[in-house]
Protein backbone atom coordinates (compact mmCIF):
# COMPACT_ATOMS: atom_id res chain seq x y z
CA UNK A 1 0.00 0.00 0.00
CA UNK A 2 1.20 3.49 -0.77
CA UNK A 3 2.62 5.42 2.17
CA UNK A 4 0.83 8.28 3.84
CA UNK A 5 2.63 11.53 4.57
CA UNK A 6 3.71 10.42 8.01
CA UNK A 7 5.19 7.23 6.60
CA UNK A 8 7.13 9.15 3.98
CA UNK A 9 8.56 11.23 6.83
CA UNK A 10 9.28 8.06 8.79
CA UNK A 11 11.21 6.57 5.87
CA UNK A 12 13.21 9.77 5.38
CA UNK A 13 14.09 9.78 9.06
CA UNK A 14 16.09 6.62 8.39
CA UNK A 15 18.42 8.75 6.28
CA UNK A 16 19.36 10.96 9.22
CA UNK A 17 22.97 10.64 10.29
CA UNK A 18 24.31 11.05 13.80
CA UNK A 19 25.63 14.49 14.75
CA UNK A 20 24.31 16.38 11.77
CA UNK A 21 22.46 19.62 11.20
CA UNK A 22 19.30 19.33 9.17
CA UNK A 23 16.92 21.81 7.54
CA UNK A 24 13.37 20.60 7.07
CA UNK A 25 11.10 22.32 4.57
CA UNK A 26 7.40 23.03 4.94
CA UNK A 27 4.88 20.16 4.69
CA UNK A 28 5.93 16.50 4.79
CA UNK A 29 9.56 17.37 5.65
CA UNK A 30 8.45 19.00 8.91
CA UNK A 31 7.05 15.64 10.00
CA UNK A 32 10.49 14.02 9.80
CA UNK A 33 11.31 15.55 13.20
CA UNK A 34 8.79 13.17 14.78
CA UNK A 35 10.72 10.06 13.75
CA UNK A 36 14.36 10.63 14.70
CA UNK A 37 15.88 7.18 15.31
CA UNK A 38 17.15 6.45 18.82
CA UNK A 39 20.82 7.25 19.38
CA UNK A 40 20.93 9.73 16.51
CA UNK A 41 21.67 13.31 17.60
CA UNK A 42 20.30 15.86 15.18
CA UNK A 43 19.88 19.61 15.39
CA UNK A 44 17.23 21.22 13.27
CA UNK A 45 17.90 24.53 11.61
CA UNK A 46 15.18 26.80 10.37
CA UNK A 47 16.29 29.43 7.91
CA UNK A 48 14.45 32.29 9.58
CA UNK A 49 17.09 32.15 12.30
CA UNK A 50 17.04 29.28 14.75
CA UNK A 51 19.18 26.22 15.36
CA UNK A 52 18.09 23.63 17.90
CA UNK A 53 14.37 23.77 17.21
CA UNK A 54 12.15 21.81 19.55
CA UNK A 55 8.53 20.63 19.32
CA UNK A 56 5.52 22.93 19.06
CA UNK A 57 4.74 24.81 22.27
CA UNK A 58 2.00 23.77 24.66
CA UNK A 59 -1.29 25.57 24.14
CA UNK A 60 -1.05 29.03 25.68
CA UNK A 61 2.74 29.10 25.57
CA UNK A 62 3.12 30.29 21.97
CA UNK A 63 5.61 33.14 21.51
CA UNK A 64 5.09 35.35 18.43
CA UNK A 65 8.82 36.04 18.53
CA UNK A 66 9.64 32.35 18.12
CA UNK A 67 8.55 30.78 14.85
CA UNK A 68 10.00 28.50 12.17
CA UNK A 69 10.33 29.22 8.46
CA UNK A 70 6.78 27.91 7.97
CA UNK A 71 5.69 30.67 10.39
CA UNK A 72 4.56 28.06 12.90
CA UNK A 73 5.09 28.72 16.59
CA UNK A 74 7.92 26.57 17.97
CA UNK A 75 10.09 26.00 21.02
CA UNK A 76 13.83 25.68 21.38
CA UNK A 77 15.90 22.96 23.03
CA UNK A 78 18.93 23.26 25.29
CA UNK A 79 21.87 24.44 23.22
CA UNK A 80 19.67 26.34 20.77
CA UNK A 81 20.85 29.56 19.13
CA UNK A 82 19.03 32.45 17.50
CA UNK A 83 20.59 34.53 14.74
CA UNK A 84 19.89 36.83 11.82
CA UNK A 85 19.04 35.78 8.26
CA UNK A 86 22.53 36.42 6.89
CA UNK A 87 24.08 34.15 9.51
CA UNK A 88 21.37 31.59 8.83
CA UNK A 89 22.20 31.43 5.15
CA UNK A 90 25.90 31.50 5.93
CA UNK A 91 25.24 28.17 7.66
CA UNK A 92 23.32 26.92 4.64
CA UNK A 93 25.47 28.27 1.82
CA UNK A 94 28.64 27.42 3.70
CA UNK A 95 27.49 23.78 3.86
CA UNK A 96 27.43 23.64 7.63
CA UNK A 97 23.88 22.30 7.35
CA UNK A 98 24.48 18.82 5.97
CA UNK A 99 21.02 17.72 4.94
CA UNK A 100 18.03 19.52 3.48
CA UNK A 101 14.68 17.79 3.16
CA UNK A 102 12.13 19.60 1.07
CA UNK A 103 8.98 19.18 -0.94
CA UNK A 104 8.79 19.51 -4.72
CA UNK A 105 6.36 19.84 -7.58
CA UNK A 106 8.73 18.11 -9.99
CA UNK A 107 12.09 16.36 -9.89
CA UNK A 108 14.03 15.43 -13.02
CA UNK A 109 16.42 12.59 -13.63
CA UNK A 110 19.50 14.82 -13.51
CA UNK A 111 18.49 16.03 -10.07
CA UNK A 112 16.78 19.30 -11.03
CA UNK A 113 13.95 20.36 -8.78
CA UNK A 114 10.98 22.67 -9.34
CA UNK A 115 8.98 23.86 -6.37
CA UNK A 116 8.43 27.59 -6.43
CA UNK A 117 6.28 28.73 -9.28
CA UNK A 118 3.53 27.75 -11.69
CA UNK A 119 3.62 30.46 -14.36
CA UNK A 120 0.41 32.48 -14.54
CA UNK A 121 -1.14 30.51 -11.71
CA UNK A 122 0.84 30.34 -8.51
CA UNK A 123 3.77 32.53 -7.56
CA UNK A 124 4.52 32.21 -3.90
CA UNK A 125 8.25 32.67 -4.30
CA UNK A 126 11.26 30.50 -3.63
CA UNK A 127 11.81 31.59 -0.04
CA UNK A 128 15.03 29.91 1.06
CA UNK A 129 14.68 26.95 -1.29
CA UNK A 130 17.08 28.18 -3.96
CA UNK A 131 19.81 28.77 -1.41
CA UNK A 132 19.12 25.43 0.24
CA UNK A 133 19.22 23.31 -2.92
CA UNK A 134 22.28 25.11 -4.26
CA UNK A 135 24.20 24.48 -1.09
CA UNK A 136 23.67 21.36 1.01
CA UNK A 137 25.71 18.28 0.19
CA UNK A 138 22.66 16.12 0.61
CA UNK A 139 19.21 17.06 -0.65
CA UNK A 140 16.30 14.69 -0.16
CA UNK A 141 12.91 15.40 -1.68
CA UNK A 142 9.77 14.32 0.14
CA UNK A 143 6.63 14.33 -1.98
CA UNK A 144 3.74 12.39 -3.41
CA UNK A 145 4.74 10.44 -6.51
CA UNK A 146 2.03 12.03 -8.64
CA UNK A 147 0.17 15.31 -8.53
CA UNK A 148 -3.53 15.80 -7.85
CA UNK A 149 -4.45 15.05 -11.44
CA UNK A 150 -2.43 11.86 -11.33
CA UNK A 151 0.52 13.02 -13.42
CA UNK A 152 4.01 11.87 -12.50
CA UNK A 153 6.17 14.36 -10.59
CA UNK A 154 9.23 12.23 -11.41
CA UNK A 155 10.23 13.43 -14.85
CA UNK A 156 12.88 13.22 -17.50
CA UNK A 157 12.95 16.99 -17.48
CA UNK A 158 11.18 19.53 -15.33
CA UNK A 159 8.42 21.45 -17.09
CA UNK A 160 8.03 24.14 -14.41
CA UNK A 161 10.57 26.87 -13.64
CA UNK A 162 13.29 25.15 -11.67
CA UNK A 163 14.57 25.92 -8.20
CA UNK A 164 17.98 24.33 -8.68
CA UNK A 165 19.99 22.13 -11.01
CA UNK A 166 21.71 18.79 -10.36
CA UNK A 167 21.05 18.96 -6.69
CA UNK A 168 18.56 16.32 -5.55
CA UNK A 169 20.23 13.17 -4.28
CA UNK A 170 17.23 11.11 -3.27
CA UNK A 171 13.46 11.21 -3.58
CA UNK A 172 11.11 9.51 -1.14
CA UNK A 173 7.49 9.35 -2.32
CA UNK A 174 4.37 7.50 -1.26
CA UNK A 175 5.40 4.76 -3.70
CA UNK A 176 9.17 4.50 -3.75
CA UNK A 177 12.64 5.53 -2.74
CA UNK A 178 14.60 6.75 -5.74
CA UNK A 179 18.21 7.73 -6.01
CA UNK A 180 19.38 10.27 -8.55
CA UNK A 181 22.14 8.18 -10.08
CA UNK A 182 24.50 9.21 -12.83
CA UNK A 183 22.24 7.89 -15.58
CA UNK A 184 18.88 8.66 -14.06
CA UNK A 185 16.56 7.54 -11.32
CA UNK A 186 17.52 4.29 -9.67
CA UNK A 187 14.66 2.53 -7.91
CA UNK A 188 16.00 1.62 -4.47
CA UNK A 189 12.90 0.57 -2.55
CA UNK A 190 9.18 0.00 -3.03
CA UNK A 191 6.44 1.00 -0.62
CA UNK A 192 5.13 -2.11 1.14
CA UNK A 193 2.86 -4.01 -1.22
CA UNK A 194 3.50 -1.71 -4.17
CA UNK A 195 4.90 -3.50 -7.22
CA UNK A 196 7.71 -2.34 -9.46
CA UNK A 197 5.15 -2.29 -12.26
CA UNK A 198 2.90 0.10 -10.36
CA UNK A 199 5.83 2.42 -9.73
CA UNK A 200 6.86 2.30 -13.37
CA UNK A 201 3.32 3.19 -14.42
CA UNK A 202 3.24 6.17 -12.09
CA UNK A 203 6.65 7.43 -13.26
CA UNK A 204 7.33 9.51 -16.31
CA UNK A 205 11.10 9.17 -16.17
CA UNK A 206 12.87 5.90 -16.95
CA UNK A 207 13.81 3.86 -13.93
CA UNK A 208 17.07 2.02 -13.41
CA UNK A 209 16.25 -1.25 -11.74
CA UNK A 210 18.98 -3.58 -10.57
CA UNK A 211 17.90 -7.02 -9.37
CA UNK A 212 15.20 -7.41 -6.76
CA UNK A 213 13.84 -4.15 -5.44
CA UNK A 214 13.26 -4.54 -1.72
CA UNK A 215 10.30 -3.20 0.20
CA UNK A 216 10.83 -0.24 2.53
CA UNK A 217 11.10 -1.12 6.19
CA UNK A 218 9.18 1.25 8.45
Amino acid sequence: MALDKNQIAQRIAQELEHNTYVNLGIGIPTLVANYIPKGIDIEFQSENGVLGMGPFPFEGEEDPDLINAGKQTITTLDGAVLFDSATSFAMIRGQHVQLTVLGAMEVSENGDIANWKIPGKMVKGMGGAMDLVASADNIIVAMMHTNRSGASKILKQCTLPITGVNCVKKVVTNLAVLEVAENGFQLLERAPGVSVEEIKNATDADLIIEGEVPEMKL
Binding site: P57, F58, G60, E62, I67, K71, T73, L82, S85, S135
Partner: protein, 233 residues
Protein backbone atom coordinates in the same frame (compact mmCIF):
# COMPACT_ATOMS: atom_id res chain seq x y z
CA UNK B 1 27.49 59.81 22.69
CA UNK B 2 25.50 60.46 19.55
CA UNK B 3 21.82 60.61 20.42
CA UNK B 4 19.50 58.94 17.92
CA UNK B 5 16.19 59.38 19.69
CA UNK B 6 13.31 61.04 17.87
CA UNK B 7 10.40 62.14 19.97
CA UNK B 8 7.60 60.83 17.77
CA UNK B 9 6.71 58.82 14.71
CA UNK B 10 6.34 61.94 12.54
CA UNK B 11 9.95 62.86 13.15
CA UNK B 12 10.95 59.25 12.59
CA UNK B 13 9.39 59.32 9.13
CA UNK B 14 10.55 62.78 8.14
CA UNK B 15 11.79 62.83 4.55
CA UNK B 16 9.71 59.90 3.41
CA UNK B 17 8.44 60.59 -0.11
CA UNK B 18 6.64 58.94 -2.96
CA UNK B 19 8.70 56.73 -5.31
CA UNK B 20 11.27 55.93 -2.67
CA UNK B 21 12.73 52.51 -1.92
CA UNK B 22 12.09 51.10 1.56
CA UNK B 23 13.47 48.07 3.32
CA UNK B 24 11.15 46.57 5.88
CA UNK B 25 12.39 44.03 8.43
CA UNK B 26 10.54 40.96 9.62
CA UNK B 27 9.88 37.37 8.61
CA UNK B 28 6.21 36.77 7.99
CA UNK B 29 4.64 38.95 10.67
CA UNK B 30 7.40 38.26 13.17
CA UNK B 31 9.62 41.23 13.94
CA UNK B 32 7.93 43.67 11.57
CA UNK B 33 8.07 47.40 12.38
CA UNK B 34 4.37 47.66 13.20
CA UNK B 35 4.36 51.32 14.16
CA UNK B 36 6.26 52.50 11.10
CA UNK B 37 4.15 50.45 8.72
CA UNK B 38 0.91 51.69 10.27
CA UNK B 39 2.09 55.30 9.99
CA UNK B 40 3.27 54.87 6.40
CA UNK B 41 -0.10 53.38 5.49
CA UNK B 42 -1.71 56.65 6.55
CA UNK B 43 0.66 58.90 4.60
CA UNK B 44 0.10 59.97 1.03
CA UNK B 45 3.19 58.34 -0.36
CA UNK B 46 2.80 56.16 -3.42
CA UNK B 47 4.86 54.44 -6.06
CA UNK B 48 7.00 52.79 -3.40
CA UNK B 49 9.48 49.99 -3.93
CA UNK B 50 9.47 47.75 -0.87
CA UNK B 51 12.22 45.28 -0.10
CA UNK B 52 10.95 42.80 2.44
CA UNK B 53 11.14 39.04 2.77
CA UNK B 54 7.34 38.82 2.78
CA UNK B 55 4.46 41.10 1.92
CA UNK B 56 2.38 40.81 5.09
CA UNK B 57 -1.18 39.51 5.12
CA UNK B 58 -4.26 41.24 3.74
CA UNK B 59 -4.95 43.41 6.77
CA UNK B 60 -1.60 43.57 8.56
CA UNK B 61 2.01 44.32 7.87
CA UNK B 62 2.79 45.46 4.32
CA UNK B 63 -0.71 44.32 3.36
CA UNK B 64 -1.84 47.68 4.72
CA UNK B 65 0.23 49.50 2.10
CA UNK B 66 -0.86 47.11 -0.63
CA UNK B 67 -4.51 47.79 0.17
CA UNK B 68 -3.99 51.49 -0.51
CA UNK B 69 -1.93 50.65 -3.59
CA UNK B 70 1.04 52.58 -2.22
CA UNK B 71 3.47 49.94 -3.45
CA UNK B 72 4.59 49.89 -7.07
CA UNK B 73 7.13 47.12 -6.72
CA UNK B 74 7.90 44.40 -4.18
CA UNK B 75 11.30 42.75 -3.85
CA UNK B 76 10.71 39.65 -1.74
CA UNK B 77 11.50 35.97 -1.40
CA UNK B 78 8.13 34.60 -0.37
CA UNK B 79 4.75 36.23 -0.82
CA UNK B 80 2.30 33.39 -0.44
CA UNK B 81 0.00 34.67 2.29
CA UNK B 82 -1.68 37.63 0.72
CA UNK B 83 -4.71 37.43 -1.59
CA UNK B 84 -4.65 41.13 -2.48
CA UNK B 85 -0.98 40.83 -3.30
CA UNK B 86 -1.66 37.93 -5.64
CA UNK B 87 -4.50 39.80 -7.32
CA UNK B 88 -2.37 42.91 -7.93
CA UNK B 89 0.53 40.84 -9.15
CA UNK B 90 -1.44 38.66 -11.57
CA UNK B 91 -3.28 41.73 -12.91
CA UNK B 92 0.04 43.45 -13.51
CA UNK B 93 -0.70 46.36 -11.17
CA UNK B 94 2.16 45.31 -8.93
CA UNK B 95 5.68 44.65 -10.12
CA UNK B 96 7.28 41.75 -8.27
CA UNK B 97 10.92 40.75 -8.09
CA UNK B 98 11.35 37.44 -6.32
CA UNK B 99 14.83 36.62 -5.11
CA UNK B 100 16.28 33.82 -3.00
CA UNK B 101 15.98 34.47 0.72
CA UNK B 102 19.66 33.98 1.43
CA UNK B 103 20.59 36.35 -1.39
CA UNK B 104 18.13 38.92 -0.03
CA UNK B 105 19.83 38.71 3.36
CA UNK B 106 23.36 38.76 1.99
CA UNK B 107 22.65 41.53 -0.52
CA UNK B 108 21.30 43.70 2.28
CA UNK B 109 24.31 43.03 4.47
CA UNK B 110 26.61 43.64 1.49
CA UNK B 111 25.13 47.10 0.94
CA UNK B 112 25.74 47.98 4.55
CA UNK B 113 29.24 46.52 4.48
CA UNK B 114 30.45 48.32 1.34
CA UNK B 115 30.58 45.12 -0.70
CA UNK B 116 29.00 46.05 -4.05
CA UNK B 117 28.80 42.49 -5.40
CA UNK B 118 29.53 38.86 -4.52
CA UNK B 119 29.22 35.38 -5.94
CA UNK B 120 26.65 32.89 -4.63
CA UNK B 121 25.57 29.47 -5.85
CA UNK B 122 21.90 30.23 -5.08
CA UNK B 123 19.73 30.52 -8.15
CA UNK B 124 22.23 29.23 -10.69
CA UNK B 125 20.42 27.68 -13.64
CA UNK B 126 17.10 29.28 -12.68
CA UNK B 127 15.14 32.38 -13.74
CA UNK B 128 16.96 34.26 -11.00
CA UNK B 129 20.26 33.87 -12.84
CA UNK B 130 19.01 35.37 -16.10
CA UNK B 131 21.33 38.11 -17.28
CA UNK B 132 23.71 37.53 -14.39
CA UNK B 133 27.37 36.70 -14.66
CA UNK B 134 28.24 33.06 -13.96
CA UNK B 135 31.61 31.91 -12.69
CA UNK B 136 32.78 28.55 -11.45
CA UNK B 137 34.37 28.20 -8.01
CA UNK B 138 35.30 24.88 -6.40
CA UNK B 139 33.79 23.09 -9.38
CA UNK B 140 30.40 24.69 -8.84
CA UNK B 141 28.77 27.50 -10.84
CA UNK B 142 28.01 30.71 -8.96
CA UNK B 143 26.18 33.85 -9.99
CA UNK B 144 27.16 37.44 -9.28
CA UNK B 145 24.67 39.27 -7.08
CA UNK B 146 24.80 42.94 -6.19
CA UNK B 147 24.18 44.92 -3.04
CA UNK B 148 20.63 46.10 -2.30
CA UNK B 149 20.20 49.59 -0.88
CA UNK B 150 17.21 51.62 0.22
CA UNK B 151 16.37 55.24 0.98
CA UNK B 152 14.87 54.15 4.27
CA UNK B 153 15.13 50.94 6.27
CA UNK B 154 12.42 50.31 8.86
CA UNK B 155 13.38 47.82 11.51
CA UNK B 156 11.99 46.63 14.80
CA UNK B 157 13.95 45.51 17.85
CA UNK B 158 13.13 44.28 21.32
CA UNK B 159 15.28 46.75 23.21
CA UNK B 160 17.22 49.75 22.11
CA UNK B 161 19.19 52.54 23.73
CA UNK B 162 19.48 56.24 23.05
CA UNK B 163 22.70 55.66 21.08
CA UNK B 164 20.70 53.53 18.62
CA UNK B 165 22.07 50.18 19.77
CA UNK B 166 19.59 47.34 19.25
CA UNK B 167 18.90 43.94 20.77
CA UNK B 168 16.47 41.52 19.15
CA UNK B 169 14.50 38.64 20.63
CA UNK B 170 13.96 35.17 19.25
CA UNK B 171 13.37 34.77 15.54
CA UNK B 172 12.04 38.32 15.38
CA UNK B 173 15.64 39.21 14.57
CA UNK B 174 15.69 37.79 11.00
CA UNK B 175 16.30 40.54 8.39
CA UNK B 176 16.22 43.46 10.81
CA UNK B 177 19.96 43.72 11.58
CA UNK B 178 20.86 43.41 7.88
CA UNK B 179 18.39 45.98 6.65
CA UNK B 180 19.49 48.28 9.46
CA UNK B 181 22.96 48.16 7.89
CA UNK B 182 21.66 48.82 4.38
CA UNK B 183 19.32 51.77 4.84
CA UNK B 184 20.55 55.25 3.95
CA UNK B 185 18.29 56.31 6.81
CA UNK B 186 17.50 53.52 9.22
CA UNK B 187 14.52 54.00 11.49
CA UNK B 188 14.38 51.61 14.43
CA UNK B 189 11.33 51.13 16.59
CA UNK B 190 11.77 49.24 19.85
CA UNK B 191 9.54 47.74 22.48
CA UNK B 192 11.68 49.26 25.19
CA UNK B 193 13.97 52.26 24.91
CA UNK B 194 16.63 52.59 27.62
CA UNK B 195 19.38 55.15 28.32
CA UNK B 196 22.77 54.49 26.73
CA UNK B 197 24.90 52.48 29.14
CA UNK B 198 22.14 50.14 30.26
CA UNK B 199 22.72 47.50 27.60
CA UNK B 200 25.73 45.22 27.91
CA UNK B 201 28.10 46.40 25.11
CA UNK B 202 29.02 42.75 24.49
CA UNK B 203 25.44 41.79 23.78
CA UNK B 204 24.27 44.30 21.20
CA UNK B 205 23.11 42.85 17.90
CA UNK B 206 22.99 46.06 15.86
CA UNK B 207 25.51 48.78 16.73
CA UNK B 208 23.96 52.24 16.86
CA UNK B 209 26.18 53.45 14.04
CA UNK B 210 23.80 51.70 11.63
CA UNK B 211 20.72 53.43 13.07
CA UNK B 212 19.84 57.05 12.31
CA UNK B 213 16.59 57.35 14.29
CA UNK B 214 15.11 55.39 17.16
CA UNK B 215 11.81 55.56 19.02
CA UNK B 216 9.77 53.47 21.38
CA UNK B 217 6.84 51.89 19.55
CA UNK B 218 3.47 51.22 21.09
CA UNK B 219 0.60 48.77 21.08
CA UNK B 220 2.50 45.89 19.56
CA UNK B 221 0.01 43.37 18.26
CA UNK B 222 2.58 40.71 17.27
CA UNK B 223 0.11 38.67 15.31
CA UNK B 224 0.80 34.95 14.93
CA UNK B 225 0.31 33.55 11.44
CA UNK B 226 0.37 29.83 12.16
CA UNK B 227 -0.45 29.00 15.72
CA UNK B 228 0.78 25.45 16.18
CA UNK B 229 0.73 23.76 19.56
CA UNK B 230 0.98 20.30 21.05
CA UNK B 231 -1.17 18.72 23.69
CA UNK B 232 0.04 18.31 27.22
CA UNK B 233 0.59 14.63 28.04
Amino acid sequence: MINKVVSNIEKALQGVESNMTFMVGGFGLSGIPENSIAALSKMDVFGLTCISNNAGVDDFGLGLLLQRKQIKKMISSYVGENAEFERQMLSGELEVDLIPQGSLAERSRAAGAGIPAFFTPAGYGTEVAEGKEVREYNGKPHILESALTADFAFVKAWKGDTAGNLIFKGTARNFNPLMAMAGKITVAEVEELVPAGELDPNQIHTPGIFVQRIFQGEKYEKRIEQKTTRKRD
